[in-house]
């Protein structure tokens, strides 16, 4: 592992994003527009925005980073730049870590913007400290990044990579507790939702929104447990992703 190379990869990914104004704008503005849409939908209906808002704050970083990463790494695999990097002194961890740092930073900015909008302009009711939502969002974005890296190994074209979104992400959206509280799901589905990272991100967001505590960070320790579980998923996905990065190919 080399911090120099990891930093170089992160800097390069951010430079690529900086040059791509449209993607950058979409990454930062679309979540805010969608949160505004949700707020507007429930304007005449009652407390729906407070109920669904926190869960949606968990969905955006996950979905967006999944898509962005699966396409960028697929491009890196098919353009030969990955092979070139791996023929240089780049460690697999440097490569994966560089992507995680770059997209983690983007997710942090994205989340600060979305949380700021929700809490201060749209009056989203957050009992816990709002900055904690950003911590969860970053962990959650890293999860999207790690899964995106992993699935890019199983796609040959960008078309296929995008198809993994409904296959990998939508089941998690359905089972994360947004539609049916997880304890009320049929037993089998509840167990399935237990091994899905998004469930923990949504749980953590809801926890921050609904509870406060004098514990570390002003949140219930359950939030930290959820964050750690997400980090565990991230590590597992990155380890599997690293196994798909081959220095030698047929």
């Amino acid at each position: 592992m080399s911090p120099r190379i990891m930093g170089a990869v992160a800097l390069r990914v951010l430079t690529q994003l900086r040059r791509d104004h449209r993607t950058m704008a979409m990454l930062l503005v679309v979540p805010m527009l969608l949160m505004s849409l949700l707020w507007w939908m429930f304007d005449d209906v009652g407390p729906g925005f407070d109920r669904f808002g926190p869960a949606l704050l968990a969905l955006f970083p996950f979905i967006i980073m999944f898509l962005v990463t699966s396409v960028t790494t697929l491009r890196e695999r098919s353009s030969g730049t990955l092979e070139r990097l791996l023929a240089m002194p780049t460690g697999k961890v440097d490569f994966l870590g560089g992507y995680a740092i770059a997209f983690g930073l983007v997710a942090a900015v994205q989340s600060v913007l979305a949380v700021t909008l929700c809490v201060w302009l749209l009056d989203l009711d957050i009992v816990g400290p709002p900055w904690m939502l950003t911590i969860v969002a970053v962990a959650d974005a890293l999860m999207g990044t790690a899964l995106g890296l992993l699935v890019s190994a199983f796609a040959r074209t960008e078309f296929q990579a995008v198809q993994f979104m409904p296959a990998v992400v939508i089941p998690q959206i359905l089972l994360c507790g947004l539609f049916v509280p997880r304890p009320l799901l049929p037993r089998v589905l509840e167990v399935v939702s237990d091994v899905m990272p998004l469930s923990y991100a949504v749980e953590a967001m809801n926890n921050v929104a609904q509870t406060a505590s004098s514990d570390l960070g002003g949140v219930d320790s359950g939030v930290w447990t959820d964050v750690l579980i997400i980090i565990g998923f991230v590590m597992a996905a990155l380890a599997l992703g690293a196994a798909t990065l081959r220095r030698r190919t047929a």
């Binding site: 170089a8 030969g80 070139r84 240089m88 780049t90 190919t249």
Partner: protein
Amino acid sequence: MVNKPGAAVDVDQLTVRRGGSDVVRGVTFTVPSGQVTGLLGPSGCGKTTLMRSIVGVQIVAGGSVTVLGRPAGDARLRDQIGYVTQTPSVYDDLSVEENLMFFARVLAVSSAEVRRCIEAVDLAEQKDKVVSQLSGGQSSRVSLAAALLGEPALLVLDEPTVGLDPVLRRDLWALFHRLATRGATVLVSSHVMDEAERCDRLLLMRDGVLLADDSPANLLSTTGAADVENAFLTLVEQGGAA
């Protein structure tokens, strides 16, 4: 097999299987260091696979490849080999300079080295252009410049001069010879036989086997052919592998 002194690359009985058939079939040769060696043969004869085996990114079925005294693919070789693939492997959405700065950071070489490599491939005027806006020949030169970073001891160049303007092609060959004079070993592939005369040494390849491993002058005198194209034909008609 004992590594011959002065050999930068030592390939012994190399066999590579791809898609169910042998694309490199028991090939043995050495590449002398400090020279420009040309790997020539028609498209599809196994040149790229052979080069990938030397760089250490190819899964091989049998035989051995020793590079600079170590088995190909050894971690200690990673900053000593510059490899240029046929399709340019650089980032389309970055400028020439940004691409090279990135690879320079990975290799821990200075920004002065970046400037030197950009100038070596004659792209100083285009350095702030995004690669996707460059012509095919220009983007393959960006890829070449990235391989030159840090003056690697071995350069493996897969058809680096295809589609280039003759003047530029001549300049690049001159560059390869300058690098060789400074001690680097240069292995260049081409499917254009007329590039053969620019090499110190030639490897002629066809259908996964080597037809010849000789200097251009020797090749012509042993086959009695007027040029390398005809020498190649003579060797094929003799049906013999060298």
